[in-house]
């Protein structure tokens, strides 16, 4: 259990509580002013109106007439349960009315004031309008606010109850949310801990609902699948490397041992030594190729990517191989259409072509026809090396991309050429396809189309070779 203040759900609950509280206050305020506020304004208007009329009357009549008129108003049965009148002369003596106000209770200024009064012998809160008449007489017209007060109390009570209820629900909701999230997070944390312990098969249980946590779980599970796959790959590769290095090392060791202890030791030793050096050189080649794969797979060479014009690369490469082709009676052709360019590393593309051409020379054999083709298509740039040799059986075509897999054992090799090509292709985001060229093999590398923004002037460079 993490500390409460650090918990995301707790903080969420606090924010929710504050927001709900704010909403309750806002709604309460609107409700209050919509009910009690309107009532008060009505009351003020009404008693103000009566006062105005009585003041006009007082201007034209004697104070006693006004007193009569107030007496009439008190018994006319209209608003008799709420109306309040009070008329006093300059000395403070009551001339008419149903309440009594002390001089001290009456404010000096005309206008609305509140006070507690005895009306019909009952204490009540009153809202009153006071007017000074000529001769220092005081006229007070008011309204008993008992009913309005009751409404006001009711409004306040409902706001309070509503607020408390909302807060309680916010807290309960947050606790529920917290429990829900903790349950789901717990599943993820449990899986993560299991994997941390080395149990790579563990996966996050999915609820089946398509909610955020399920989607997160699915994403994490997908990532774990990939990691497990990679780990398996690494394990497989380590085993393969161990096997492929151990076997020749053992052979070299045995030969040397035999030469040391054998009968005609000295005479055979030079020969054995030379053979051992040859075998060790072959091992060094294997290591270099493994490093090349590792380098391409680690993706660290993405940095120096640039636009590479394939025409120059291919023509140079074909020229490089043409003497060997001539000697082996191989017809080697380069067919480059519409100046294809890819975004990549020239040296790695060289390496790719060297591996593909080495393979074609080795397996298609003397007298074969080898074509290196490149063209820009709508789907990207397609680079192909096609031969008319025996090709690769369909069943082996996937496996030749595995490290150390060898489809044919009658020709020497490392079993690393095509894996290098595959690693370089994948570093370039290219798709590698091995197809039956009937007869022969066609290795196609489909590079993604080069983005327009790579070339500020809109045109790929014609050549990026430096010589």
């Amino acid at each position: 259990m993490i500390r409460l203040t650090r918990s995301v759900t707790f903080r969420l609950a606090v924010v929710c509580g504050v927001l709900i509280g704010g909403a309750v206050v806002l709604i309460g305020a609107i409700f209050y002013f919509g009910t009690v506020g309107v009532q008060l304004r009505n009351v003020d208007r009404k008693i103000g109106g009566i006062s105005d009329r009585l003041v006009v009357y007082a201007d034209r009549h004697a104070l006693t007439d006004l007193a009569h008129r107030i007496d009439d108003a008190l018994i006319d049965g209209i608003d008799s349960d709420t109306e309040i009148y009070f008329l006093a002369d300059a000395r403070g003596a009551r001339l008419a009315g149903n309440i009594f106000l002390d001089r001290a209770q009456v404010p000096q200024k005309n206008g609305i004031f509140l006070a507690r009064v005895l009306r019909n012998g009952k204490p009540s809160s009153a809202r009153m309008d006071v007017r000074r008449l000529t001769d220092e007489a005081v006229l007070v017209v008011g309204r008993d606010m008992g009913d309005v007060d009751q409404i006001e109390r009711q409004v306040w009570r409902s706001i309070l109850i509503g607020g408390v209820l909302a807060l309680v629900m916010a807290v309960l909701g947050s606790l529920l949310l917290r429990r829900l999230i903790e349950q789901r997070v717990h599943a993820i944390r449990h899986t993560a801990a299991e994997i941390g312990r080395g149990n790579l098969h563990e996966r996050i249980p999915l609820s089946g609902a398509d909610d955020e946590f399920s989607r997160l779980g699915k994403d994490i599970n997908r990532m774990l699948d990939r990691i497990e796959q990679l780990m398996d790959g690494v394990r497989h590769v380590s085993n393969a490397i161990a096997h492929n290095l151990r076997t020749p090392l053992g052979a070299i060791r045995n030969q040397l041992e035999h030469a040391l202890h054998g009968e005609a030791a000295t005479s055979r030793f030079a020969e054995t030594g030379r053979a051992a050096i040859g075998q060790i050189d072959a091992l060094i080649v294997v290591l270099q190729k493994l490093l090349q794969i590792a380098e391409a797979e680690s993706g660290t060479r993405r940095q120096p990517f640039e636009a590479v014009a394939l025409r120059a690369v291919i023509e140079d490469m074909v020229e490089f191989y043409d003497a060997a082709a001539e000697q082996a009676g191989i017809e080697l052709l380069a067919v480059v259409e519409n100046e294809p360019a890819v975004f990549g590393d020239r040296h790695l593309i060289d390496s790719m072509l060297i591996n593909l051409l080495d393979n074609a020379f080795k397996y298609a054999g003397n007298g074969a026809r080898i074509e290196v083709r490149a063209r820009a298509t709508s789907g990207g740039v397609l680079l192909e090396v096609r031969d008319n040799g025996p090709g690769i059986a369909a069943i082996d075509r996937k496996r030749v991309l595995e490290r150390f897999f060898r489809a044919r054992h009658d020709v020497s090799g490392t079993g690393l050429g095509l894996p290098i090509v595959a690693a370089i292709a994948s570093l370039h985001g290219a798709i590698l396809r091995l197809e039956d060229a009937s007869p022969g093999l066609c290795v196609g590398v489909l590079f993604p189309p080069i983005e327009a923004e790579t070339f500020p002037n809109g045109n790929p460079p014609v050549s990026s070779r430096r010589n």
Partner: protein, 233 residues
């Protein structure tokens, strides 16, 4: 010719020094980085052999310190870090050549020789010649004993490289890097065939062969025939 080898691995150091002494260089070996840097800076050397990994320190720091001190001594970097990136880093730090471990002793001495003679004589010349073979770098024309020889552009570069490195052993790796700018060894005999085609073009019909193959080592362009045991023409 005085060479300084800065290498902290005793076995490698012994092997490198023995190989270079066998090629009759005067070789000093230094196993300590700080001492090595001091000696490289304060004494005169014709070339340095510097290991990339000197215990805790990166040999490239030594190299950069040396270059900052204004020393232009040619440096061959030895390294177990064989990737292209590391190679580029080594050359950018001021190295003149980069040799990945493990290497053949002949490769080491051939590259050292190339380093030592690199800035020597022929750099500015537009006309190169060996025996009766002449190259004109401006017109890209080649002739032997007055007869014109037709070469493809890459063959011309190859021959030019050989003539510039005449009487020096040149390895396949050096040719791949210098002439084709390839940093991956083809496993087929592509280079051998290129060389033998070039040899046919320049040597065929002439009494004195110039282009020699040193088996398991490399090639040599020379008027003198190398030791018979090593050649294969």
């Amino acid at each position: 010719m005085r060479l300084l080898v800065i290498e902290d691995d005793l076995a490698t150091a012994r092997f490198v020094c023995a190989e270079l002494r066998a090629s009759s260089y005067e070789v000093e070996c230094c196993e300590d980085v700080v001492e090595g840097l001091r000696r490289a800076r304060d004494e005169h050397w014709d070339a340095l052999v510097l290991d990339r990994m000197l215990g805790a320190r990166d040999g490239l720091e030594v190299l950069q310190a040396l270059r900052r001190a204004g020393k232009r001594t040619p440096v061959l970097i030895l390294s177990a870090l064989a990737t292209l990136d590391e190679r580029v880093r080594g050359l950018r730090a001021g190295g003149d050549d980069y040799l990945a471990k493990p290497f053949a002793p002949s490769e080491l001495s051939a590259r050292i020789e190339a380093l030592l003679r690199r800035s020597a004589a022929l750099d500015g010349a537009r006309q190169l010649a060996i025996a009766d073979l002449r190259l004109d770098l401006d017109s890209r024309r080649v002739e032997r004993a007055g007869q014109a020889i037709l070469l493809q552009p890459r063959e011309f570069r190859l021959l030019e490289y050989f003539v510039r490195h005449r009487d020096q052993v040149v390895t396949r790796g050096m040719l791949l890097e210098a002439v084709w700018d390839y940093h991956f060894d083809p496993q087929t005999n592509v280079i051998d065939v290129q060389i033998s085609r070039l040899r046919t073009k320049i040597d065929k019909g002439h009494a004195l062969p110039l282009l020699h193959t040193l088996r398991g080592i490399g090639y040599l362009l020379s008027e003198r025939r190398p030791d018979a045991a090593e050649t294969r023409t």
